[in-house]
């Protein structure tokens, strides 16, 4: 699923656009240590963790799309890092569970 398709599915808005960003699965998590330890490659990360370090963790695990829930704001330093590292950010009013349900066409991405 492309970031644009994910955005539509979760009724969101694109906060950081990255050409060709896409995901083949979904991981839900808010603790960075948990995400780093368990999120699978090419996942869409459903989270409320609107912090610069989330981008660093996404680059480590190979995640190119973040779905930021509850319309959490994207801090400028997070947006800059995301654009630089090629991580698209979709902001949605949905909760983590609702966003995950909206993306149920994708399988769990974990290891």
């Amino acid at each position: 699923m492309t970031a644009a398709e994910i955005c539509t599915a979760v009724n969101g808005t694109i906060a950081v656009e990255v050409a060709d960003a896409a995901a083949t699965g979904v991981y839900v998590g808010d603790l960075l240590s948990d995400i780093m330890g368990h999120a699978g490659e090419d996942c869409a990360l459903v989270t409320i963790q609107n912090h610069l370090n989330t981008i660093a963790v996404c680059t480590l695990v190979g995640c190119a799309v973040i779905v930021l829930c509850h319309n959490r704001p994207v801090p400028p330093d997070m947006a800059e890092a995301a654009a630089r590292e090629g991580v698209a950010i979709v902001v949605t009013p949905l909760s983590q569970y609702a966003a995950a349900r909206a993306l149920s066409a994708l399988p769990p991405a974990e290891h």
Binding site: L32, S33, M36, N50, H51, T59, E85
Partner: protein, 243 residues
């Protein structure tokens, strides 16, 4: 006495590389601080360097680290000696992921000497949390003779409020910290009876000692701070409203 208990050096991946121990000490002295504490993320490996800088400048210094706990809450463990702080560091390191830091992703982590030579680059990812919980970190900090504070409780990430919704009331903390812009009319009531400090959390030189805490201390030691915390006599400086 004014003091700033939360300052990062160049060892912290998110701190500016200009944050050498010698520059930090110079800025703190110029700002009229009676004492400072060095608190890098997960590590006290630059405390020997700042101890020497502080000794030469006649500045009182505490040695600590900002421990990111299993709950991903940022907390400050502060000690009177570098040996205690380095023992705490060893304990935290043993509970950290064994992944190697990528400086391009997280930032450089130089361990330096007092006169600004780089000894080595820390290889662990200091930006990540450890597997120890707040009660466990608190117990180890106190066992080693330190004091333990909840950092920037007003922040929307990596704070007791963001991660847990409240301040644990089990005596884990000796005091809490509010950040440089926190509105005290909101956050003093939310400190839930804990002594309140304000510190800079400086990641670049211009922020060192921009805010501080004041207290009448017989000496700048963890014991004196602990007594002031118990007596609730620490006074946070006014917040920053301009940048």
């Amino acid at each position: 006495m004014k003091f700033d208990l939360h300052i990062h050096s160049c060892l912290s991946p998110c701190a500016n590389l200009e944050m050498s121990p010698s520059e930090i000490v110079q800025r703190a002295v110029a700002a009229g601080m009676g004492g400072i504490a060095l608190t890098d993320h997960q590590s006290a490996r630059n405390t020997p360097a700042i101890a020497e800088c502080a000794r030469r400048a006649g500045l009182a210094c505490l040695y600590g680290l900002e421990v990111c706990t299993a709950e991903e809450v940022h907390t400050l463990a502060l000690f009177d000696t570098t040996e205690q702080a380095l023992a705490m560091t060893d304990w935290v390191y043993a509970a950290m992921p064994k992944r190697v830091n990528d400086p391009e992703t997280f930032g450089d982590q130089p361990v330096v000497t007092w006169d600004d030579d780089i000894v080595e680059m820390e290889w662990r990812i200091l930006a990540m949390g450890c597997r120890k919980t707040i009660p466990e970190v608190s117990a180890k900090c106190h066992e080693l003779g330190g004091i333990y504070l909840a950092a920037h409780i007003d922040r929307s990430a990596f704070s007791v409020y963001s991660q847990l919704g409240n301040i644990p009331s089990d005596g884990a903390f000796d005091a809490v910290e509010i950040s440089r812009t926190a509105d005290e009319t909101i956050w003093l009531p939310k400190a839930e009876g804990y002594a309140v400090t304000r510190s800079s959390d400086a990641h670049n030189l211009d922020d060192v000692a921009r805010v501080w805490t004041e207290a009448d201390l017989p000496a700048f030691t963890t014991a004196a701070l602990k007594a002031a915390f118990a007596a609730r006599t620490t006074r946070p400086s006014p917040r920053l409203t301009t940048f």
